[in-house]
Protein backbone atom coordinates (compact mmCIF):
# COMPACT_ATOMS: atom_id res chain seq x y z
CA UNK A 1 0.00 0.00 0.00
CA UNK A 2 1.36 3.44 -0.91
CA UNK A 3 1.35 5.94 1.92
CA UNK A 4 -1.21 8.74 2.18
CA UNK A 5 -2.14 11.60 4.47
CA UNK A 6 -4.97 10.91 6.89
CA UNK A 7 -7.72 13.31 7.93
CA UNK A 8 -10.54 12.77 10.36
CA UNK A 9 -12.90 15.75 10.15
CA UNK A 10 -15.80 16.08 12.58
CA UNK A 11 -18.22 17.90 10.28
CA UNK A 12 -19.60 17.30 6.80
CA UNK A 13 -18.51 20.81 5.75
CA UNK A 14 -14.90 20.15 6.78
CA UNK A 15 -14.84 16.79 4.98
CA UNK A 16 -16.17 18.34 1.77
CA UNK A 17 -13.65 21.18 2.07
CA UNK A 18 -10.71 18.75 2.25
CA UNK A 19 -12.04 16.70 -0.68
CA UNK A 20 -12.70 19.81 -2.79
CA UNK A 21 -9.18 21.15 -2.18
CA UNK A 22 -7.46 17.90 -3.15
CA UNK A 23 -8.83 15.99 -6.15
CA UNK A 24 -6.66 12.97 -5.27
CA UNK A 25 -8.09 12.65 -1.74
CA UNK A 26 -10.71 9.96 -1.14
CA UNK A 27 -13.32 9.52 1.58
CA UNK A 28 -13.17 6.28 3.58
CA UNK A 29 -16.07 4.87 5.58
CA UNK A 30 -15.58 1.30 6.83
CA UNK A 31 -12.68 0.78 4.44
CA UNK A 32 -13.44 -2.87 3.77
CA UNK A 33 -13.40 -2.41 0.02
CA UNK A 34 -11.02 0.54 -0.21
CA UNK A 35 -8.20 -0.81 1.97
CA UNK A 36 -7.99 -4.16 0.11
CA UNK A 37 -7.92 -2.18 -3.16
CA UNK A 38 -5.12 0.02 -1.82
CA UNK A 39 -3.14 -3.04 -0.76
CA UNK A 40 -3.26 -4.18 -4.39
CA UNK A 41 -2.09 -0.70 -5.41
CA UNK A 42 -5.17 -0.37 -7.59
CA UNK A 43 -5.47 3.20 -6.38
CA UNK A 44 -3.11 5.82 -5.01
CA UNK A 45 -5.00 8.51 -3.12
CA UNK A 46 -2.98 11.42 -1.73
CA UNK A 47 -5.12 11.41 1.39
CA UNK A 48 -7.91 9.47 3.04
CA UNK A 49 -10.70 11.42 4.69
CA UNK A 50 -12.06 9.21 7.46
CA UNK A 51 -15.79 9.92 7.88
CA UNK A 52 -16.19 8.02 11.14
CA UNK A 53 -15.74 11.15 13.25
CA UNK A 54 -18.87 12.82 11.82
CA UNK A 55 -21.64 11.91 14.25
CA UNK A 56 -24.51 13.15 12.06
CA UNK A 57 -23.67 10.57 9.35
CA UNK A 58 -24.67 7.74 11.66
CA UNK A 59 -28.00 6.43 12.87
CA UNK A 60 -31.39 5.02 11.93
CA UNK A 61 -34.70 6.80 12.40
CA UNK A 62 -38.28 6.63 11.22
CA UNK A 63 -40.06 9.79 10.04
CA UNK A 64 -43.65 9.00 9.06
CA UNK A 65 -43.52 6.37 6.35
CA UNK A 66 -39.80 6.78 5.66
CA UNK A 67 -36.80 5.07 7.22
CA UNK A 68 -33.75 7.33 7.18
CA UNK A 69 -30.38 5.60 7.47
CA UNK A 70 -27.20 7.62 7.92
CA UNK A 71 -24.53 6.83 5.34
CA UNK A 72 -22.00 5.73 8.00
CA UNK A 73 -24.41 3.25 9.58
CA UNK A 74 -22.73 -0.13 9.67
CA UNK A 75 -24.22 -3.30 8.12
CA UNK A 76 -24.41 -4.92 11.56
CA UNK A 77 -26.51 -2.00 12.83
CA UNK A 78 -28.86 -2.26 9.82
CA UNK A 79 -29.20 -6.02 10.37
CA UNK A 80 -30.12 -5.72 14.06
CA UNK A 81 -32.09 -2.44 14.10
CA UNK A 82 -35.56 -2.90 15.59
CA UNK A 83 -36.79 0.04 13.48
CA UNK A 84 -35.68 -1.61 10.23
CA UNK A 85 -36.68 -5.12 11.29
CA UNK A 86 -40.25 -3.97 11.90
CA UNK A 87 -40.58 -1.60 8.91
CA UNK A 88 -38.52 -3.30 6.16
CA UNK A 89 -37.51 -6.75 7.43
CA UNK A 90 -36.16 -7.73 4.00
CA UNK A 91 -33.60 -4.90 4.25
CA UNK A 92 -32.45 -6.01 7.72
CA UNK A 93 -32.19 -9.58 6.46
CA UNK A 94 -30.22 -8.43 3.41
CA UNK A 95 -27.73 -6.62 5.65
CA UNK A 96 -27.27 -9.77 7.74
CA UNK A 97 -26.08 -11.62 4.63
CA UNK A 98 -23.33 -9.14 3.66
CA UNK A 99 -19.79 -10.46 4.15
CA UNK A 100 -19.13 -11.87 7.60
CA UNK A 101 -19.60 -10.55 11.14
CA UNK A 102 -16.32 -8.65 11.13
CA UNK A 103 -17.08 -7.04 7.77
CA UNK A 104 -20.56 -6.10 9.04
CA UNK A 105 -18.97 -4.52 12.12
CA UNK A 106 -17.01 -2.10 9.90
CA UNK A 107 -18.65 -1.82 6.47
CA UNK A 108 -21.27 0.89 6.00
CA UNK A 109 -24.41 1.29 3.90
CA UNK A 110 -23.19 4.57 2.41
CA UNK A 111 -19.81 3.13 1.57
CA UNK A 112 -21.36 0.17 -0.21
CA UNK A 113 -23.83 2.31 -2.17
CA UNK A 114 -21.20 4.89 -3.16
CA UNK A 115 -18.88 2.09 -4.33
CA UNK A 116 -21.69 0.48 -6.39
CA UNK A 117 -20.03 -2.90 -6.82
CA UNK A 118 -22.17 -4.89 -9.29
CA UNK A 119 -22.33 -7.75 -6.76
CA UNK A 120 -23.18 -5.52 -3.78
CA UNK A 121 -26.52 -6.21 -2.09
CA UNK A 122 -27.90 -2.78 -1.13
CA UNK A 123 -28.28 -1.27 -4.64
CA UNK A 124 -31.09 -3.74 -5.43
CA UNK A 125 -32.95 -2.77 -2.24
CA UNK A 126 -32.50 0.95 -2.92
CA UNK A 127 -33.70 0.60 -6.51
CA UNK A 128 -36.70 -1.62 -5.73
CA UNK A 129 -37.83 0.44 -2.74
CA UNK A 130 -37.43 3.75 -4.61
CA UNK A 131 -34.91 5.11 -2.11
CA UNK A 132 -33.77 8.73 -2.18
CA UNK A 133 -30.09 9.61 -1.79
CA UNK A 134 -29.42 12.72 0.28
CA UNK A 135 -25.98 14.22 -0.36
CA UNK A 136 -24.34 17.34 1.02
CA UNK A 137 -25.81 19.34 -1.88
CA UNK A 138 -28.86 17.58 -3.40
CA UNK A 139 -31.23 14.63 -3.31
CA UNK A 140 -31.10 11.95 -6.01
CA UNK A 141 -33.51 9.18 -6.96
CA UNK A 142 -32.03 5.66 -7.00
CA UNK A 143 -32.33 5.42 -10.80
CA UNK A 144 -30.28 8.62 -11.16
CA UNK A 145 -27.74 7.69 -8.48
CA UNK A 146 -26.58 4.38 -9.93
CA UNK A 147 -24.70 4.79 -13.21
CA UNK A 148 -23.23 1.37 -13.93
CA UNK A 149 -20.27 -0.62 -12.70
CA UNK A 150 -18.54 1.13 -9.77
CA UNK A 151 -20.05 4.42 -10.93
CA UNK A 152 -22.55 6.76 -9.29
CA UNK A 153 -23.75 10.32 -9.81
CA UNK A 154 -21.65 11.50 -6.86
CA UNK A 155 -19.07 14.18 -7.65
CA UNK A 156 -15.54 13.44 -6.35
CA UNK A 157 -16.02 15.88 -3.46
CA UNK A 158 -19.69 15.05 -2.84
CA UNK A 159 -20.69 13.07 0.23
CA UNK A 160 -23.64 10.77 0.69
CA UNK A 161 -25.35 11.87 3.93
CA UNK A 162 -28.33 9.54 4.31
CA UNK A 163 -30.55 7.17 2.40
CA UNK A 164 -34.34 7.56 2.67
CA UNK A 165 -36.32 4.34 2.23
CA UNK A 166 -40.11 4.59 1.87
CA UNK A 167 -41.69 1.83 3.98
CA UNK A 168 -43.19 -0.70 1.53
CA UNK A 169 -46.37 -2.76 1.92
CA UNK A 170 -44.16 -5.79 1.47
CA UNK A 171 -40.70 -6.65 0.21
CA UNK A 172 -38.48 -9.70 -0.19
CA UNK A 173 -34.94 -10.62 -1.17
CA UNK A 174 -33.27 -13.75 -2.47
CA UNK A 175 -29.78 -14.30 -3.82
CA UNK A 176 -27.54 -17.11 -4.94
CA UNK A 177 -24.20 -16.69 -3.21
CA UNK A 178 -21.03 -17.70 -4.94
CA UNK A 179 -20.03 -20.75 -2.88
CA UNK A 180 -16.44 -19.50 -2.43
CA UNK A 181 -16.64 -15.71 -2.16
CA UNK A 182 -20.27 -15.61 -0.94
CA UNK A 183 -20.82 -12.59 -3.20
CA UNK A 184 -24.10 -12.40 -5.06
CA UNK A 185 -24.10 -14.31 -8.36
CA UNK A 186 -27.61 -12.95 -8.76
CA UNK A 187 -29.80 -11.32 -6.17
CA UNK A 188 -33.34 -10.04 -6.62
CA UNK A 189 -35.20 -7.58 -4.39
CA UNK A 190 -38.95 -7.27 -4.94
CA UNK A 191 -41.08 -4.57 -3.37
CA UNK A 192 -44.66 -3.39 -3.39
CA UNK A 193 -44.32 0.15 -2.16
CA UNK A 194 -44.48 3.86 -2.79
CA UNK A 195 -42.72 3.49 -6.14
CA UNK A 196 -45.18 0.78 -7.24
CA UNK A 197 -44.20 -2.82 -7.75
CA UNK A 198 -40.52 -3.03 -8.48
CA UNK A 199 -38.04 -5.83 -9.13
CA UNK A 200 -34.32 -4.98 -8.97
CA UNK A 201 -31.42 -7.30 -9.76
CA UNK A 202 -27.83 -7.27 -8.49
CA UNK A 203 -24.86 -9.52 -9.27
CA UNK A 204 -26.07 -10.56 -12.71
CA UNK A 205 -25.24 -7.47 -14.74
CA UNK A 206 -22.60 -4.71 -14.77
CA UNK A 207 -24.79 -2.78 -12.34
CA UNK A 208 -28.16 -2.95 -10.63
CA UNK A 209 -31.12 -3.00 -13.04
CA UNK A 210 -34.91 -3.28 -12.93
CA UNK A 211 -36.61 -6.33 -14.42
CA UNK A 212 -39.63 -4.69 -15.99
CA UNK A 213 -41.30 -7.84 -17.34
CA UNK A 214 -41.31 -9.27 -13.83
CA UNK A 215 -42.69 -5.98 -12.48
CA UNK A 216 -45.58 -6.15 -14.99
CA UNK A 217 -46.26 -9.80 -14.15
CA UNK A 218 -46.33 -9.10 -10.40
CA UNK A 219 -48.50 -6.03 -10.88
CA UNK A 220 -51.13 -8.29 -12.50
CA UNK A 221 -50.69 -11.14 -10.01
CA UNK A 222 -48.39 -11.04 -6.97
CA UNK A 223 -47.28 -14.68 -6.81
CA UNK A 224 -44.16 -16.77 -7.57
CA UNK A 225 -46.08 -18.47 -10.38
CA UNK A 226 -46.70 -15.14 -12.10
CA UNK A 227 -42.95 -14.59 -12.68
CA UNK A 228 -42.07 -18.21 -13.50
CA UNK A 229 -42.37 -17.48 -17.22
CA UNK A 230 -40.33 -14.26 -17.19
CA UNK A 231 -37.33 -14.64 -19.49
CA UNK A 232 -34.32 -12.42 -18.80
CA UNK A 233 -32.31 -11.56 -21.93
CA UNK A 234 -28.70 -12.72 -21.26
CA UNK A 235 -27.32 -10.06 -23.59
CA UNK A 236 -25.12 -7.71 -21.54
CA UNK A 237 -25.12 -9.82 -18.37
CA UNK A 238 -21.87 -10.82 -16.66
CA UNK A 239 -20.10 -13.88 -18.00
CA UNK A 240 -17.05 -15.18 -16.13
CA UNK A 241 -15.53 -18.30 -14.57
CA UNK A 242 -18.35 -18.36 -12.02
CA UNK A 243 -21.17 -18.55 -14.54
CA UNK A 244 -22.22 -17.66 -18.05
CA UNK A 245 -24.60 -14.85 -18.96
CA UNK A 246 -27.22 -17.49 -19.82
CA UNK A 247 -26.84 -19.07 -16.37
CA UNK A 248 -27.25 -15.70 -14.68
CA UNK A 249 -30.29 -14.92 -16.86
CA UNK A 250 -31.86 -18.15 -15.64
CA UNK A 251 -31.04 -17.18 -12.05
CA UNK A 252 -32.93 -13.88 -12.44
CA UNK A 253 -36.19 -15.81 -12.87
CA UNK A 254 -35.43 -18.27 -10.08
CA UNK A 255 -34.36 -15.58 -7.59
CA UNK A 256 -37.39 -13.43 -8.47
CA UNK A 257 -39.68 -16.34 -7.59
CA UNK A 258 -37.83 -16.90 -4.31
CA UNK A 259 -37.90 -13.19 -3.46
CA UNK A 260 -41.69 -13.10 -3.95
CA UNK A 261 -41.98 -16.13 -1.65
CA UNK A 262 -39.77 -14.33 0.86
CA UNK A 263 -42.00 -11.24 0.71
CA UNK A 264 -45.12 -13.34 1.25
Amino acid sequence: MYDFAYHKPTSIADAVKILAADPDAKPVSGGHTLLPALKHRLNQPSALVDLSGIAELRGIKREGDTIIIGAMTRHGEVATSDIIKSAIPALAHMASTIGDTQVRNRGTMGGSLANNDPAADYPAAAMALGAKFQTDRRTLAAEDFFQGMFTTALEPDELLIAIHFPVPKKAGYAKLKNPASRYSMCGVFVADGAAGIRVAVNGAGPGVFRQEAAEAALSANWSPEAVAGVKQDPDGLNSDIHGSAEYRAHLVTVMTKRAVLDAG
Partner: protein
Protein backbone atom coordinates in the same frame (compact mmCIF):
# COMPACT_ATOMS: atom_id res chain seq x y z
CA UNK B 1 4.43 11.40 11.22
CA UNK B 2 0.91 11.10 12.62
CA UNK B 3 0.50 9.89 16.17
CA UNK B 4 -1.97 7.31 17.38
CA UNK B 5 -3.03 6.84 20.99
CA UNK B 6 -5.05 3.80 21.90
CA UNK B 7 -5.64 1.46 24.81
CA UNK B 8 -4.55 -2.12 24.21
CA UNK B 9 -5.52 -4.73 26.81
CA UNK B 10 -5.97 -1.97 29.38
CA UNK B 11 -2.67 -0.16 28.77
CA UNK B 12 -2.54 3.15 26.93
CA UNK B 13 0.05 3.41 24.15
CA UNK B 14 1.09 6.27 21.91
CA UNK B 15 3.02 5.55 18.73
CA UNK B 16 4.10 7.29 15.55
CA UNK B 17 2.62 5.61 12.49
CA UNK B 18 2.24 6.23 8.77
CA UNK B 19 -1.17 6.83 7.29
CA UNK B 20 -0.99 3.39 5.73
CA UNK B 21 0.08 1.53 8.90
CA UNK B 22 -2.40 -1.26 9.60
CA UNK B 23 -3.67 -1.91 13.10
CA UNK B 24 -2.21 -5.41 12.94
CA UNK B 25 1.21 -3.97 12.08
CA UNK B 26 1.04 -1.63 15.05
CA UNK B 27 0.05 -4.51 17.34
CA UNK B 28 2.63 -7.00 16.11
CA UNK B 29 5.61 -4.89 15.08
CA UNK B 30 5.46 -1.86 17.40
CA UNK B 31 3.76 -3.29 20.49
CA UNK B 32 5.19 -6.81 19.91
CA UNK B 33 1.82 -8.43 20.57
CA UNK B 34 2.37 -11.28 18.14
CA UNK B 35 -0.59 -13.37 19.26
CA UNK B 36 -2.65 -11.64 16.58
CA UNK B 37 -1.77 -13.30 13.28
CA UNK B 38 -1.81 -12.31 9.64
CA UNK B 39 -3.07 -15.12 7.46
CA UNK B 40 -4.47 -14.01 4.14
CA UNK B 41 -4.03 -10.23 4.49
CA UNK B 42 -7.18 -9.85 2.36
CA UNK B 43 -9.87 -9.78 5.12
CA UNK B 44 -11.01 -13.34 4.37
CA UNK B 45 -9.40 -15.64 6.92
CA UNK B 46 -9.93 -13.95 10.29
CA UNK B 47 -6.56 -14.85 11.87
CA UNK B 48 -6.11 -11.14 12.62
CA UNK B 49 -9.41 -10.58 14.48
CA UNK B 50 -9.21 -8.33 17.55
CA UNK B 51 -11.88 -6.38 19.40
CA UNK B 52 -12.22 -2.63 18.95
CA UNK B 53 -14.50 -1.21 21.64
CA UNK B 54 -15.89 -4.71 22.20
CA UNK B 55 -16.64 -5.60 18.57
CA UNK B 56 -14.69 -8.10 16.49
CA UNK B 57 -12.86 -6.59 13.52
CA UNK B 58 -10.17 -7.68 11.09
CA UNK B 59 -7.07 -5.77 12.11
CA UNK B 60 -5.45 -6.37 8.70
CA UNK B 61 -8.20 -4.24 7.16
CA UNK B 62 -8.20 -1.46 9.73
CA UNK B 63 -5.75 1.44 9.75
CA UNK B 64 -3.94 2.05 13.02
CA UNK B 65 -5.22 5.63 12.81
CA UNK B 66 -8.81 4.41 12.54
CA UNK B 67 -8.34 2.92 16.02
CA UNK B 68 -7.13 6.21 17.48
CA UNK B 69 -8.78 6.72 20.87
CA UNK B 70 -10.27 3.22 20.87
CA UNK B 71 -9.97 0.38 23.32
CA UNK B 72 -8.46 -2.70 21.66
CA UNK B 73 -8.45 -6.20 23.08
CA UNK B 74 -6.16 -8.87 21.64
CA UNK B 75 -5.78 -12.54 22.50
CA UNK B 76 -3.10 -11.54 25.03
CA UNK B 77 -5.67 -9.50 26.94
CA UNK B 78 -8.20 -12.28 27.62
CA UNK B 79 -6.69 -14.22 30.51
CA UNK B 80 -6.78 -12.62 33.96
CA UNK B 81 -3.64 -11.30 35.63
CA UNK B 82 -3.30 -14.51 37.66
CA UNK B 83 -3.15 -16.54 34.45
CA UNK B 84 -6.71 -17.89 34.61
CA UNK B 85 -7.86 -18.39 31.04
CA UNK B 86 -10.98 -16.79 29.57
CA UNK B 87 -13.77 -19.41 29.34
CA UNK B 88 -13.42 -19.41 25.54
CA UNK B 89 -9.69 -20.16 25.80
CA UNK B 90 -10.38 -22.83 28.41
CA UNK B 91 -13.03 -24.41 26.17
CA UNK B 92 -10.70 -24.44 23.15
CA UNK B 93 -8.16 -26.28 25.30
CA UNK B 94 -10.68 -28.71 26.79
CA UNK B 95 -12.22 -29.57 23.41
CA UNK B 96 -8.92 -29.64 21.53
CA UNK B 97 -10.36 -27.05 19.15
CA UNK B 98 -7.13 -26.59 17.24
CA UNK B 99 -4.45 -28.44 15.42
CA UNK B 100 -1.69 -26.12 14.22
CA UNK B 101 -3.14 -23.18 16.17
CA UNK B 102 -2.53 -20.49 13.58
CA UNK B 103 -6.20 -19.51 13.26
CA UNK B 104 -6.91 -19.93 16.98
CA UNK B 105 -6.41 -16.35 18.23
CA UNK B 106 -8.82 -15.02 15.61
CA UNK B 107 -11.27 -17.88 16.19
CA UNK B 108 -11.32 -17.15 19.93
CA UNK B 109 -11.81 -13.40 19.44
CA UNK B 110 -14.62 -13.91 16.89
CA UNK B 111 -16.26 -16.57 19.05
CA UNK B 112 -16.37 -14.28 22.08
CA UNK B 113 -18.09 -11.55 20.04
CA UNK B 114 -20.54 -14.14 18.65
CA UNK B 115 -21.46 -15.43 22.11
CA UNK B 116 -21.73 -11.94 23.61
CA UNK B 117 -24.08 -10.80 20.82
CA UNK B 118 -26.38 -13.81 21.34
CA UNK B 119 -27.37 -13.90 25.00
CA UNK B 120 -30.39 -16.04 24.07
CA UNK B 121 -28.02 -18.89 23.15
CA UNK B 122 -26.76 -20.33 19.88
CA UNK B 123 -27.59 -23.45 17.92
CA UNK B 124 -24.82 -25.46 16.29
CA UNK B 125 -25.92 -24.07 12.92
CA UNK B 126 -25.75 -20.50 14.21
CA UNK B 127 -22.24 -21.07 15.55
CA UNK B 128 -21.14 -22.43 12.17
CA UNK B 129 -22.71 -19.48 10.34
CA UNK B 130 -21.17 -17.10 12.87
CA UNK B 131 -17.70 -18.39 12.02
CA UNK B 132 -18.03 -17.40 8.37
CA UNK B 133 -15.24 -14.85 8.73
CA UNK B 134 -12.71 -17.30 10.17
CA UNK B 135 -10.99 -20.02 8.23
CA UNK B 136 -9.31 -23.07 9.79
CA UNK B 137 -7.49 -25.41 7.43
CA UNK B 138 -6.77 -28.18 9.97
CA UNK B 139 -9.61 -29.25 12.18
CA UNK B 140 -12.75 -29.36 10.10
CA UNK B 141 -14.35 -27.04 12.65
CA UNK B 142 -16.16 -29.74 14.68
CA UNK B 143 -14.22 -29.26 17.89
CA UNK B 144 -14.22 -25.49 17.47
CA UNK B 145 -18.02 -25.53 17.32
CA UNK B 146 -18.22 -27.77 20.40
CA UNK B 147 -15.82 -25.51 22.30
CA UNK B 148 -17.84 -22.39 21.52
CA UNK B 149 -21.07 -24.06 22.67
CA UNK B 150 -19.38 -25.10 25.91
CA UNK B 151 -17.90 -21.63 26.48
CA UNK B 152 -21.30 -20.01 25.79
CA UNK B 153 -22.81 -21.96 28.69
CA UNK B 154 -20.21 -20.52 31.05
CA UNK B 155 -20.26 -17.00 29.61
CA UNK B 156 -24.06 -16.92 29.96
CA UNK B 157 -23.92 -18.25 33.51
CA UNK B 158 -25.59 -21.59 32.79
CA UNK B 159 -22.59 -23.49 34.10
CA UNK B 160 -19.82 -22.53 36.51
CA UNK B 161 -17.10 -24.34 34.56
CA UNK B 162 -16.51 -25.66 31.05
CA UNK B 163 -18.29 -28.99 30.60
CA UNK B 164 -15.74 -31.81 30.23
CA UNK B 165 -15.19 -32.92 26.63
CA UNK B 166 -15.29 -36.58 27.67
CA UNK B 167 -18.23 -37.14 29.96
Amino acid sequence: MPQVTLTVNGTTHTAEVEGRTLLVELLRETLRLTGTHVGCDTSQCGACVVHIDGESVKSCTTLALQANGASVTTIEGLASADGKLHPMQEAFREYHALQCGFCTPGMVMSAIDLVQKNPQGLSEHEIREGLEGNICRCTGYHNIVKAIAAAADVMHGKRAEIAPAMA
